[in-house]
Amino acid sequence: MDIGRPQRIIEIEPVSLPLPEDAPDLDPEPLVPDPAEPRP
């Protein structure tokens, strides 16, 4: 997607991080792909 030309650089150190306070479980359990379907 075209977002045009760069215009300026901003360095942002937020006073409070915009993250949820009660974060859900952080386990990065990977999504397991389905087993391959048998070919007809």
């Binding site: 977002i3 360095e11 391959a36």
Partner: protein
């Protein structure tokens, strides 16, 4: 485009994150209870729940994203209707961006980001009507490998008529609830629409 040729007003400092708009694809488990936001382009890694997503560069591993003379970093736009050009969006929402942020004419590339409000979108409605899409999603089609495609009822029926293969179809509402709960964020108001115009 070389860094030398870019005459930028550099390093404005701020303590407020930038708020912008973006879309994602969606991946999830077979029963839809575990879902993750996936970038439409870039490194293909899911956005982690509860932690900032970090931009990276897949072309030049030596520089830190976002580099001013590259296209790397987490992308977002200022006008949500620009996302109509996005490829196969499944989720649309607002995002907070911080760290090093390169501001462009129509959007941003950022070092760090976290979603703020989210909503499932039917990609056909979204490409036709953008943020003014008239109907909500009724189902989510889950493809092999976990990719999920939300559809509204009219486009589900149309897709069936055209032979779009729907191996697994799940109701959309519980998937959207799982998404909001996973990232601990609020839904984008329905239709987004007054909220976005503000």
């Amino acid at each position: 485009m070389s860094a030398q040729r870019l005459q930028l007003e550099t390093s404005t400092s701020s303590v407020e994150p930038v708020h912008a708009w973006r879309s994602w694809t969606l991946a999830g488990s077979r029963d839809g209870s575990r879902v993750r936001l996936m970038p439409i382009a870039g490194n293909g890694r899911p956005w982690p729940p509860g932690l900032p997503a970090a931009g990276s560069c897949t072309r030049h591993r030596t520089h830190k994203a976002p580099h001013v003379a590259c296209t790397c970093g987490l992308h977002a736009v200022g006008d949500p209707d620009r996302l109509r050009q996005a490829r196969d969006p499944a989720v649309f929402g607002s995002v907070a961006l911080w760290g090093r942020v390169v501001e462009h004419e129509h959007g941003f590339r950022a070092e760090l980001g976290y979603p703020q409000r989210l909503r499932l979108v039917c990609y056909l409605c979204f490409s036709l009507w953008g943020t003014h899409a008239p109907s909500e999603c009724s189902v989510v089609v889950r493809h092999r490998g976990g990719r999920m495609v939300p559809l509204c009822e009219p486009h589900r029926e149309l897709s069936l008529r055209y032979g779009y293969r729907m191996r697994t179809t799940l109701p959309a509402r519980p998937i959207e609830s799982a998404l909001l709960s996973t990232y601990a964020v609020d839904p984008l108001p329905d239709p987004a629409w007054g909220f976005m115009a503000a």
